[in-house]
């Protein structure tokens, strides 16, 4: 199996508290891979270890190995910025840069990382990313308005476009619909399914229905470890672990 992400015996502690305890995981290319689990199970930390955004917090120590598209993420010679160009991220709170225009939000990454050589190329890239994020038709006439003028769902799709404009290999999504209304959430879910043609999506969600709707594979986390992992259909119909079964049937805790 061609894995784009390989995690080997990953241990993470923050401020001396052990959060991830020996995680092993392989994520295949061009799939939607959901990570489920109750709050505090470490799923968000696992996601944040993949693009080294964990480095921003104090007192984090990471042991183990992560390979993403052949890049050894935690090798001392690896530049975290290089990892983050390979791995895009969409957050729980839609976080466009509020005073920047819609266009500039999408253009920010390619511009600073010098991915384009001309204005024309940049225009095309921005359009491509906004179309991929199902946002182009809604914003094409007001690309130069501040991003803060958009609705919550539109802002989240703008953030997806912003991440896509970097042409990442992997797209991390940290509960991307938890702050949106049902209609906006449905649109994002529809989008996630489409996205796997271009990138591998790693989706953290505490909503097991969402995981069953959009994902191809599911990993179930509990207390810093992965209890069960497999194709979504199999996990939801024939879970091997008692806790997984309890969680997906909503009888947890």
């Amino acid at each position: 199996m061609d894995s784009v992400v390989q995690i080997r015996d990953l241990w993470v502690s923050i401020g001396g508290r052990s959060i991830l305890r020996g995680v092993n995981l392989e994520i295949p290319r061009n799939v939607v891979f959901a990570i489920m689990g109750p709050s505090g199970s470490g799923k968000s930390t696992l996601l944040r270890s993949l693009n080294r955004i964990l480095d921003l917090y104090e007192g984090v120590s990471v042991k183990g190995q992560i390979l993403i598209d052949g890049v050894d993420v935690y090798n001392s010679k690896t530049d975290p910025s290089e990892v983050r160009r390979l791995v895009g991220m969409v957050f729980q709170i839609p976080n466009p840069i509020p005073n920047m225009s819609i266009y500039d939000n999408v253009a920010l990454g390619p511009r600073i990382n010098k991915l384009v050589r001309s204005r024309w190329e940049l225009d095309n890239l921005v359009r491509w990313a906004l179309e991929k994020a199902y946002l182009w038709d809604e914003v094409k006439d007001r690309l130069h308005l501040p991003a803060s003028k958009l609705s919550g769902g539109q802002q989240q799709r703008l953030c997806i476009a912003r991440a896509l404009a970097m042409k990442p290999k992997v797209l991390l999504m940290d509960e991307p619909t938890s702050n949106l209304d049902p209609v906006a959430s449905a649109k994002i879910e529809e989008l996630i399914v489409e996205l796997k043609r271009d990138v591998t999506v790693v989706l953290v969600t505490h909503n097991s229905f969402q995981a069953s709707r959009v994902s191809d594979y599911v990993a179930f986390m509990y207390d810093g470890q992965i209890l069960e992992v497999g194709p979504t259909g199999q996990i939801f119909t024939r879970p091997k672990n008692k806790l997984t079964e309890k969680y997906i049937t909503g009888r947890f805790g």
Binding site: I53, L56, G88, F91, N113
Partner: protein
Amino acid sequence: MRIRRFLDVFTIVSLANSILILSVVLVSLVLVVESLPIIARDGLLPLVTSIWNPVKEEYGFLFALGGSLVTASLALVFSLALSIGSAVMYAEFLPRRFRVIVKNLMDLAASIPSVVYGLWGLKVLSPVLRTYIMEPLSELGLSQFVGRPTPAGTSIFTASILLAIMVTPLASAIIRERLLAIPSHIREALYSLGLTKVEVITLELKYIKRSILTATAVSYGRAVGETAAVAMVVGNVINLEFFKVFKPGYTISSLIADQYPNAEAYYFMKHALFYSALVMFFVSLAINIVLLKFGERV
């Protein structure tokens, strides 16, 4: 009962406000009234001449006006560099456990009386700047542009460095608090796009440019008005070439502090000093308005 209490608070607040507004009006009024005799005699002449000859009752304070503007502007440049640097250091690099002590030290620095800064400036800063900066630079052939320092090292340059050090804690606090107020999810968004720390900080500073401008306006006001410390290190010499910053000079504030004790001995001197204060008042007002207008546009 509730309405009564509301009225009481309202009365106190509006009284406080009225006192504040009234005092601004009164200050301006006194400045104008006291300046009238010399305005009637010389018009705008004192603003464009550099003569200070009380015996002949000739007063032109261009040298002090220029000294004030040059000192404050230089101080502003140095203090912006210092305050942005220290705020970024604090918000982006300093480990959390050192924050409390550094913040307290900065606040302490802001509360030191200016005369203490003046003494330190005279005793330590002036000779150090003379030996290590002013003399080497003027030896290098810059003396035709910046002049030669005096043995004491008091100069317009010294005053502006001292001012920069004095106004930095407040300016830095304004920038620091604004940097810390940037939501962490915005910072994470920037890093997640593969931006380096330098690139993120540059964008953050652009994002808070309005606060940086506010800090600039506040610093300028304080630098232009500061008296005690400046009067001690600026040299208090009538320097027609106030742009040669390594030479000693006057600022309006130091001129008033230095000359006012003699003013009663002459007829027009007091009025000339009031006039210089009035001019400085308007110049500062104009600069603040420009900065604030500019702040609205960015």
